[in-house]
């Protein structure tokens, strides 16, 4: 029995370590390739670079403005999240705390868009954006992202607000506060835990999206990070070490963030998926 326990213990680590190598090895190849010269890469993709020189990084910084793309990505994500959470909270408040007849019907209505992938609407969106001048603007992307995340946000906020005791709003009403004041002063601050979950799930999908900016954005000054990588791939088709540098620069911030917050990020994903 004891031997069997030991065997299982041992086997578990073997499986998990092999799995981890399968996950981590490609990243290590990315890392070493970023420091290689083109010649070294062509000789062998697996060998270590002869000198750990930063000349590739210098070249990338000189040829492209990666900070601008980083700024664009941050601005677009933050703006979309703020709109999502504000509109979502208002709606969830109306659906759960303001008694009106059709609340149930509206709750379902707000969930419907979840089943339509936004990719399938990209052509009409593109055409409408061309007409109203939102094509090739950050605002245009913000509006699309705010809307695509909204159904999930409304759903999560509604299920959370149901757990807030109604007495809060009732007693405030007696004192004569308007609904909007009750909402902004009393309800909004209570939403912190759900807002954290939303930021993780919705934020990740906005941050990593490639399809929308590829269709909507052509001005190099407005490109987001995933689009920047794609541009870079087109520009340096033959020089893979330089592309690796670009990718490394793009993924390092998110990896650092992940290292420190992985528990919250994973918990957020689980909470959001199980409810959604």
């Amino acid at each position: 029995m004891k031997d069997k326990r030991k065997m299982i213990y041992f086997l578990r680590y073997v499986i998990l370590i092999i799995g981890s190598i399968v996950i981590l090895y490609p990243f290590s190849i990315l890392f070493i390739t970023a420091f290689k010269t083109q010649k070294e890469y062509l000789m062998s993709a697996v060998s270590l670079p002869e000198h750990w020189s930063l000349s590739n990084f210098k070249e990338v910084f000189e040829s492209t403005n990666i900070f601008l793309s980083f700024f664009n990505s941050v601005i677009i994500m933050v703006a979309a999240l703020v709109i999502q959470i504000f509109c979502g909270a208002l709606t969830a408040y109306a659906l759960t705390k303001m008694k009106f007849k059709k609340a149930g019907k509206y709750t379902i209505l707000f969930l419907l868009p979840m089943i339509i992938p936004i990719q399938s609407l990209v052509i009409p969106l593109y055409l409408i954006y061309t007409k109203i001048g939102l094509l090739d603007t950050r605002t245009g992307l913000v509006i699309i992202y705010a809307a695509t995340g909204l159904p999930l946000v409304i759903f999560m906020l509604t299920s959370f607000m149901k757990t807030i005791p109604i007495q809060i709003s009732e007693s405030a009403k007696v004192e004569g506060a308007g609904e909007f004041i009750i909402f902004s002063r009393l309800v909004l601050p209570l939403l912190k835990p759900v807002v954290a979950t939303i930021t993780v799930i919705s934020g990740l999908s906005i941050w990593n999206d490639f399809f929308m900016p590829m269709i909507m954005i052509s001005d190099p000054d407005k490109k987001t990070l995933p689009l920047k990588i794609y541009d870079f791939m087109g520009q340096y088709t033959s020089n893979w070490p330089l592309i690796c540098v670009c990718i490394l620069l793009v993924i390092i911030p998110i990896l650092v963030l992940y290292c420190f917050m992985q528990r919250y990020i994973i918990d957020g994903v689980v909470a959001g998926s199980v409810k959604g």
Partner: protein
Amino acid sequence: MNKTKRKRLPYYFMLPSLALLLGVYLIPFVYSIFISLTDWSGIGMDMNFVGLGNYIALFRENHFLEVLRNNIIYLIELVGVQFVVSLVLAAVLNASFRGRNLFRAVYFMPTVICTIAIGFIWNIMFDPINGPIKTILESLGLTELSKIMWLGNTTTAIHAVSFVSVWQWTGWSMVIYLAGMQSIDKSLYEAAEIDGANALQKFFRITLPLLAPSITINLVNSTIGALKIFDLPFIMTSGGPGHATESLAMMMYTYSFGLDKMGYGTAISILLVVVILIISGIQTVVLRKKEDEVL
């Protein structure tokens, strides 16, 4: 505040959300159904109503049927393989031992990185001249296997792309299964042990049935992901060789923006929505039924 104002108040609160969803979902959806019934190129005013002509033409075209077949392969591989692998990993992780959180974090890591980057990293891995996979196979003495150009021939390319997608998203399903497993009452296992059940019996008789809600979530998620797959084949193979890895979303993109056939392109996107609705609808109904039987 008078009475009618009070009645309208909830609608004012919902107005911003309604406006957003109307503008980004409803109007474009109606608009795209309309375009799909025309032969519009996307440029100029020349537009004729062709009824269901675009849809009929699609199903007569070999290119479309090949792409449809590709999407079915993506669907089977992404949903099936990911289900098995993530469930096994979750089962292995579902115990208390040193380094458990570290392993969980490692497996989840690829999901936080953009798919464009993942696709390029794997293009290096699959590099047919001196890529790591070729080198590893050579050093293991598998010279025949090492000569295969994984992304370069029509038989292996789609499976290679599927593999990378599973590699990226397995951690996502895994953490959901793991959370589900941890919410199962420990006393059930103790009772089963007293009855003399072995580990496999416990897994199939207790763990799996009680995981039904997590299974529903993951299967529906990965189904939608497989049906709308775009980024990964776009970066890794651009749909090639030939059309061997092209997906519906990619074909929609090429027709609308590359070949100036908006009517045709939107018809594909409407079909994509219909397919997703049907498949995920069936899944939800069937799986919910199973959930009810268990609980």
